[in-house]
């Protein structure tokens, strides 16, 4: 792979990590969903570039799916959901921004060390893209762990999935069937979560996960 192609692919993968950090930094749900839309946008660009460089037309479909579903439809729908739930103002965090950022740095360092040591003999571009993809996955997990609000945990889960897509496209070859099935499973999960959220809200008047614990019957 020639220099400039290498660089652009790298650059887009790195931008995905940067946008993951931006997601960690966000305080308000509305802005978080916008940043997630940007996340999906960068993912779509990255997948499209991989399609161009690897000469694999089926990846263009993946890019279009990422663009349409994850960058447009899901954020817009979630926007409406949270406005109806009336929670579009604040996010409650378990740890502060500083600690979350430091933990994020540590996770990125960890994924660098792991990926670059384990894959000593692989193609250099693939190795480093995998390292970035693992970072995005870990940062998505970090977001799920450090937020109380169920919607932000869903956003973390979706960023995690974006990271997996990045890893799969970087590894040269992700059959369209897999992508379609993954996308549909996401859609189903999303519908279920949406219904769940409304039922929970109806029942308990809140979707703060910690408050839900109180009703589980296990006092802490």
């Amino acid at each position: 792979m020639s220099g400039i192609n290498f660089d652009i692919a790298h650059f887009l993968a790195g931008t995905l990590v940067l946008v993951s950090f931006l997601e960690l930094y966000q305080d308000r749900l509305y802005a978080l969903l916008n940043v997630y839309a940007a996340h999906a946008l960068v993912l779509a660009a990255s997948v499209a570039w991989q399609a161009f460089v690897q000469d694999a037309p089926h990846l263009y479909v993946t890019a279009v799916i990422a663009l349409v579903f994850k960058a447009i439809i899901i954020p817009v729908t979630l926007h409406r959901v949270i406005v109806r739930l009336g929670i579009h103002r604040e996010i409650e965090k378990v740890v502060g921004v500083g600690t979350a950022m430091l933990a994020g740095m540590g996770l990125v360092a960890l994924s660098m060390v792991v990926m670059l040591r384990v894959t000593q003999n692989a193609d250099p571009l693939a190795r480093e893209d995998l390292a970035f993809a693992l970072s995005v996955v870990l940062l998505g997990l970090l977001m799920m762990v450090t937020r109380r609000n169920a919607v932000s945990q869903v956003v973390g889960f979706m960023s995690l999935e974006n990271g997996l897509v990045l890893a799969a496209t970087g590894a040269k070859g992700m059959p369209l069937v897999v992508e379609i099935s993954v996308a549909f499973s996401i859609l189903i999960a999303f519908i279920v979560i949406g219904i769940f959220l409304f039922r929970i809200r109806e029942r308990f008047d809140t979707i703060d996960v910690q408050a839900l614990d109180r009703f589980r019957g296990e006092r802490r």
Binding site: G98, T99, A109, V113, R117
Partner: protein, 668 residues
């Protein structure tokens, strides 16, 4: 040269008992400090000649001390450099004390120990065998302890002395074990024999850990630093300056001697330990300093931070040396040594300033001072130079050593180890953070103490200090400027030290274009302190001239504008605690569990509002308090053995005898 240095040390040792005899005479202070000053000045010149001439090491064996060993003494480049550092500090401290010592209330408790302290430090630096080294080290600790306890009626000084004694003994124990390991089963106690013995990797690692504990605790590495902020403020100001600016450097010498010279070739992971400790020390030191409002305690915590910076340089040198990158190691090593020199200069200057403030106002607490720039203008100017130097601002000397350390960090990506690849940039970030926080700390210290309006009667009544103190401060301030403007000469003077311990030295700086310094290559980076200074002066003068010609030069004094709400009470200006509040909220909530509480009385109540700030020293609470509690508990339990009956004592003796006989039976 070595004989001259030893003679001066002997003069100082003779002066100590003489001072005991003379202590109650009126002229004793002048005599003792005057002779100390002259002796240290001569010793300084001798050591400087040895260093600059890059002379070969000199050896002497004296027939005193242990019978079959004698006392081996050696002056090589490393010793010569450190002797220069301590004698410069000692000379200026003696000059300062000629004026300051007149205000000493109990001279007989300070005068005998002062020359002994100076002599002990010199002897540590020229010692060439383990016995002489440890003996002089302990002597140094004891004499400084005696001076810390000189005002023993003050309860916090008593506590300070106790903690100091415990930590010093603990450190000496560690060093004893280290030398024991290096000497081996054959008892090779001289340094020359240890060097030739080429210890194994395990032995070297143990020596490193013990040297870190022993020398590190004396230098002030976190978490062994706890005695430093208690003991340094308790001593008289010139002694504090010596302890902070000079004795910590003797500890650094001890570490360098053991780890770089005696323990054999460094393993790659040694630098990880040193760098991690050093990074933590740097940031913790300055954060502690920001929370203080006692001037001397603030300066003592700052010493901890600067020791961290020195050890960062030493850690980098170890990393480069272990991987065979000798030029980079020389750069890092020279940066660390230059910072040793710079720190002794500006820390002594700042402690002298604190001493001057203490004699003029009787106060050490910043919250009771203020407005001293009007009443002590010359002291204020010289202390300002010290503050600018310690905040690492160009064109003064603090910036040069920090710049060299950054250049060494920029050479580190070539290191192959993964741990170092992740640790070095983090340590670089910590160093930059500490430098910025240090500037904040000294804006606070200088601003609250010297600027603003006086907060108490004592501050209002302050007068300028005597000319001896001012002379001492002036010498140090001039040196700060000199090292900042002409760093090349000082870097070249360090070349013999670097050659001896690392094997390479930095490229010769004299002869570089326009007197700049070029640490690696001209295409990569360079810095010209002289040009920056000239540029700044020219720009400032040009601006002043242009303003004078083009603008109005009328000036009128009036009450402060204060946005239309002027208040005559000086209590409305910012205090040290309020100044540190934003930083306390950002960093202190995690590092010190800082909590603030404002008790606001209800409207109509005339009681003042109270601000309560709660800080926890987490290192003390996590490490030292449990150990102290455990020791107390064990001691209480063991105390019962004092009050047994005669029959029980006899039973004890009887059981011990039976056990020993059993051991003999089973093991023989």
């Amino acid at each position: 040269m070595l004989t001259i240095v030893l003679l001066c040390a002997a003069v100082l040792l003779v002066l100590a008992p003489l001072a005991v005899a003379l202590a109650h005479r009126a002229a004793a202070t002048q005599f003792v400090y005057g002779v100390s000053m002259i002796a240290t000045a001569i010793s300084l010149i001798a050591a400087l000649t040895h260093l600059v001439a890059a002379a070969s090491p000199e050896n002497i064996v004296l027939p005193i001390g242990v019978p079959w060993l004698g006392s081996h003494l050696r002056l090589d480049a490393l010793s010569a450099f450190f002797i220069v550092v301590i004698d410069l500090g000692a000379m200026t401290a003696s000059l300062f004390a000629l004026g300051y010592g007149r205000h000493e209330t109990a001279p007989e408790r300070v005068l005998p120990f002062y020359p002994a302290f100076l002599a002990a430090m010199t002897l540590v630096l020229v010692a060439d065998d383990a016995f002489t080294f440890l003996l002089s080290w302990e002597f140094m600790s004891l004499t400084s302890w005696a001076m810390v306890m000189s005002h023993h009626r003050v309860p916090e000084n008593v506590r300070a002395g106790y903690v100091y004694l415990v930590m010093a003994s603990f450190g000496t124990l560690a060093l004893l074990l280290a030398f024991g390991l290096l000497a081996g089963p054959d008892g090779l106690y001289t340094f020359a024999q240890m060097r030739a013995a080429h210890p194994s990797a395990v032995l070297g690692a143990l020596a490193l850990v013990l040297a870190l504990i022993g020398a590190g605790s004396k230098a002030g590495l976190v978490p062994l630093h706890v005695w430093l902020p208690l003991a340094h403020p308790a001593a008289p100001s010139h002694v504090s300056a010596l302890m902070s600016g000079v004795m910590t450097k003797v500890a650094v010498y001890g570490f360098v001697r053991i780890v770089f010279d005696l323990a054999g070739g460094p393993a790659w992971w040694w630098s990880i330990v040193v760098l991690a400790l050093a990074g933590a020390t740097t940031v913790m030191g300055v954060l502690y300093a920001l929370m203080q409002h006692d001037l001397k305690r603030l300066l003592a915590y700052h010493t901890v931070e600067n020791i961290g910076i020195i050890f960062i340089g030493l850690g980098l040198a170890l990393a480069f040396k272990a991987h065979g990158m000798l030029f980079a190691a020389a750069l890092a090593f020279t940066a660390a040594l230059l910072h040793v020199f710079n720190h002794s200069l500006f820390k002594s200057l700042l402690f002298f300033g604190a001493g001057a403030v203490l004699t003029a106002t009787g106060e050490r607490d910043m919250e009771h001072l203020g407005g001293l720039i009007h009443r002590m203008p010359r002291t204020a100017f010289l202390v300002l130079i010290g503050c600018v130097a310690i905040s690492a601002l160009p064109p003064l000397n603090g910036f040069v050593s920090e710049w060299l350390t950054f250049q060494a960090i920029l050479l580190s990506p070539q290191l192959p180890s993964w741990g170092l690849k992740l640790l070095v940039p983090s340590v670089g970030a910590l160093l930059a953070l500490a430098a910025a926080l240090a500037a904040a700390c000294f804006v606070k210290a200088y601003g609250v103490t010297f600027l603003g309006r006086p907060r108490t009667r004592a501050a209002e009544a302050a007068t300028e200090t005597d000319s001896y103190s001012l002379a001492a401060m002036f010498v140090l301030a001039a040196l700060c400027l000199l090292v900042g403007i002409l760093p090349g000469a000082f870097i070249d003077a360090l070349a013999p030290v670097s050659s001896a311990l690392i094997g390479e030295h930095m490229p010769t700086q004299i002869g570089a274009q326009w007197l700049s310094i070029v640490p690696i290559a001209a295409s990569r980076s360079s810095y010209d302190g002289l040009l920056v200074f000239v540029f700044m002066t020219l720009s400032g003068t040009l601006a002043a001239w242009a303003i004078h010609r083009l603008a109005s030069d009328r000036l009128r004094r009036a009450p402060a504008w204060d946005c239309g709400y002027p208040d005559a009470s000086p209590a409305t200006q910012y205090s040290a605690t309020s100044f540190a509040q934003p930083i306390r909220r950002v960093f202190g909530t995690i590092v010190f569990r800082a909590r603030e509480q404002v008790e606001m009385p209800p409207p109509g109540d005339t009681r003042p509002a109270r601000l309560k700030v709660e800080l926890h020293d987490l290192i003390w609470e996590a490490i030292y308090a449990p150990i102290a509690a455990g020791t107390s508990f064990a001691a209480d339990r063991l105390n019962r053995f004092q009050f047994l009956t005669i029959r029980q004592f006899l039973t004890l003796v009887f059981c011990t005898l039976i056990v020993l006989l059993l051991v003999l039976a089973i093991w023989s």
